[in-house]
Symmetry: D2
Subunit: 320 residues, 4 copies
């Protein structure tokens, strides 16, 4: 089934942190994001070429993890159709006021329990004088420091199971499933889904601790893969913890770097090159255990923490 | 109006050349494209990551220029709806057999007279053994020589007028108009339209000779902008004529290099970085004469031939 | 004659500016240089991987232009031999105290009147805690904002005549002449000379105003050519004036971007790729007028201001 | 002691292979090197911007490994002084005819037994018509296929001991020791030495098998680090074995990719960015075991085979 195009794209994501000041420093100084507002325990942050008000809602909390992931509908009617289908699944939690700059948001959870929101109304970002871009087809001037990240790219959830969530976004929201990890026993251990021509917007990978609702990572696109390499140098000289990379994923062929922000959440800097998924009849590419054993695209073995570290942390040993 | 998503993406484009052998050499050796078949006076050529059979249909002809531009529908029903709307405009020419690997194609012309085709059925490319990719989410092994180009990016037509064609693809095919050049007298001198999350798929710019049906250029995406720089070095050492670039366009911010293939057609190598048009309520960005006078993004003045050279050549002076 | 290797490399260069605060802002915020000290009307500035105290001595003055260019000798005996040869030419002005961090400096002028200095003693830079690099083989942490420039690359003087200066550095200082512009009448209009394996350290090009002692530009090396492209974007969004580029020079094949700092001095950001001049019997590559007429490497025509703008400005029309 | 500059640079290196046809295919098709001649069991191969006749002398042999490494003297007198010093060490083997295009070569071995040669006379490469470069300051047109490598970069020997070889090239040939690995017990386990402004030309690392005369790898410089990334993609689709990388070394900060050529010899593709060692009073940077335990620059752990694989292979287990 081709994507329905009722969800236009991934909107802003809420990230929780137990060390809000240090996390804010990471997002503004290292990632080069711009603060666009504050409300309660939250700071709103923008990547320089996202057109809406907010890319990340950074919220002080008792622990780390992911809050609500918002999805923008393609129009008001598309929003109504989406909400109707969600309601029919019994997973809806009702309408909420949107974050500043956003209209009413319909909140629900996917089967693993991650909170998601659907909205249509969105007030485009108007940069203040000092952040006005030189070219009018750009949301804001590029940040002259830090990475800087260009736009939100994707969210990668951990889930106790993968398949039910994949089915939910595919069948209820009209996502396209582009790639998957399918174990020898048939278990789907990872699923990459998209609402756009990007290879993926929302990903589920299996949580080996059996927990629900956790975050594997939140990813931001840099303008070039050279920016990912520069980010690695910058991380090195800035004391930002590099978990793995830069290297290129076999799945989706994304050039990547994984770091941890001070709150413990894993953040990916990524660049897809010119890769797009344009085919309306794209079939999921299934990767076997044997294929995964070859490592990443150029052979890098996936490091153990990639299979164990998620946020919030869970008690007990994080078994590999 | 948001894009209808009934056209999934730009399909293959037919290019005409009076020197077919030399043009073929350019496409295979310099651009690094792969021959996927021959039929009559035509050779079918592929960029390494296009998933269908053909990226360019290179056809021997009395002169240069562009033949049919094909558009893939998002599904069989979408195709029917598109054809019905085209028929209603009186511009339809009826169904034709598709090129090898493609199903029935409905042929029509836009108001300026360029031939276009709509199709749904498409047989995915299966690379022969020597061209099999190492990673299964890639259409074919990267060509180890030449640029090589990754995929078709866009076609830029010349038109006696721009606005009628823009309106046609917007209203009949559901394209999104992303950027425009609007002269001080209100004339639309250029219009960039898209069916995807790319900034543009089909472009019209005003033909200063007043002719209809001509080609400004055909563009291919490289994987990185570094590939565009490498292509410039390769062009230099290969005797390929460089018209202008590498530089970055102000409009759409594409990193570009323009060369001429031996048949006289202008070919662009381009890279958009991580830029995507994701907003469903994107409004056309209009560029004024004063803004255009600033040159390209970093100040390069547009060279005169860019305003005069089109294919096929037209008699008389190509006035600036 | 191979290079004598008595001059080890180009040391720090003094730049004059009538708007010192604005120039300082340019060097620190846009170029990403670090202040390492102040003395009198001067601020000392460092590129992140230069190992000595200073890369540029920025001095407030009535007008723009270049002050002293310093050259580090390869050792104390080499310094004595160099000074003896300079004294024998009658161009020596005697020993001076070095700038902070530098030992005694022997000052002289080349035939066109530019002031130069020779020194051996140099106190290596020890970064303060906040600027300590993560890797011990690096002078200082990379600046997390601005371009940032890695090291001083070269100085390009304007001279009423070129040949006498070329002969002077070749015969007195042991430089290697690597490339030249030789006009049809035999006049040498440009000469690139080096003391290292870089293609050039000190360059003279003919001053079409007939003036002496002026500066064409001062150049800094970025780590990659991608950094030059990023610098162009940063200049665009920061309001820094771009004169020309990015493009690649035919001469020396350097990837370049030229901007003006607020004081009016032209500054080049450059990257040579992996190019080195290793041959001890390298013969000067002479470029003819016809070859120069082809433009830069990929065909960009040299813009008129490149032939007229120098600092300090001179009265009267700057004729092309 | 500063470098004496009597050795101008690393000349061509002889590589031995038991599968000469497959190795030749690797060097020409994958690395993009050009054949410049044949003699006996050897094929001479060039990187596109090396100015001499030969970059690698590929010789069919019973096993893999490295033959003679040649060093070009800075002039005829420098050659005589070098030879006199070598003779005084008792390690000289006398004068031999040079390879085609090279003058008389004085042959000797360093303490670990690797054969080296010193020469001055060298006939510059004149490319045949089809390989003429567009720009006259370039040795040859860039190869339009394969990586292609720009020039020889360095040779990395394995040695039963490191220090004696380091002392030999430093004291007898005037090399500069730039970086070292010094174990906790004071053993020097690696030493990087240079004759140029490059960070290193000849390297010794400790052979954990206790053997003498083996090769760790031969390295070629690509023009950019993007070329290293492209090479990884090309290796992947070409079936070339990737051992590790791309990543960045902590030592010397070189961006690297290691592959094996079909004969078993390890080949590095590397790019140093704009890094140069310019200081005449550079002191060796010593890396401790604790510092090495941090992995490469961005944290990649050195893979076990990097410590065990050398050529020719030696009997018995290659213990880590």
């Amino acid at each position: 089934m081709p994507p329905l195009h009722e969800v236009a794209h991934l909107g802003h994501v809420e990230l929780l942190t137990p060390v809000p000041e240090q996390s804010l420093e990471f997002f503004t100084r290292f990632l080069g994001m711009t603060e666009s507002g504050r409300e309660g325990d939250s700071v709103f942050l923008r990547a320089w070429d996202d057109y809406e008000q907010t890319t990340v809602k950074l919220t002080a909390a008792a622990t780390s993890g992911v809050g609500r992931t918002n999805l923008r509908a393609a129009g008001p009617e598309a929003l109504q159709r989406l909400v109707a289908r969600v309601e029919a699944t019994g997973r809806g939690a009702g309408w909420r006021d949107g974050d500043p700059g956003y209209g009413p948001t319909y909140v629900f959870t996917e089967p693993d329990g991650h909170e998601m929101g659907l909205y249509w109304e969105s007030q485009w970002w108007t940069p203040p004088a000092g952040l006005a871009p030189a070219l009018k087809n750009q949301a804001q001037a590029r940040t002259p420091h830090g990475v800087p990240v260009r736009r939100l790219d994707h969210v990668n959830y951990l889930g106790a199971e993968v398949a039910p969530n994949r089915d939910y976004v595919r069948d209820t929201l009209g996502a396209l499933v582009t790639e998957q990890i399918v174990l020898d026993d048939g278990t789907v251990a990872g699923s990459w889904t998209t609402f756009t021509n990007k290879g993926y917007d929302v990903v589920w990978t299996r949580d080996r601790t059996g927990s629900s609702g956790r975050l594997h990572h939140l990813a931001f696109a840099t303008d070039t893969r050279e920016d990912v390499l520069r980010a690695a140098d910058l991380a090195l000289d800035s004391g930002v913890f590099i978990e793995t990379g830069p290297h290129k994923h076999a799945i989706q062929q994304t050039f990547f770097l994984y770091v941890y922000e001070p709150g413990g959440n894993r953040v990916e800097l990524c660049n897809a090159g010119a890769r797009l998924v344009l085919a309306p009849d794209w079939q999921p590419v299934d990767w076997t255990e044997a294929e995964r054993a070859k490592g990443q695209a150029w052979g890098l073995q996936t490091i153990p923490s990639f299979h164990t570290h998620g946020t919030p942390p869970v008690p007990g040993p994080e078994a590999p």
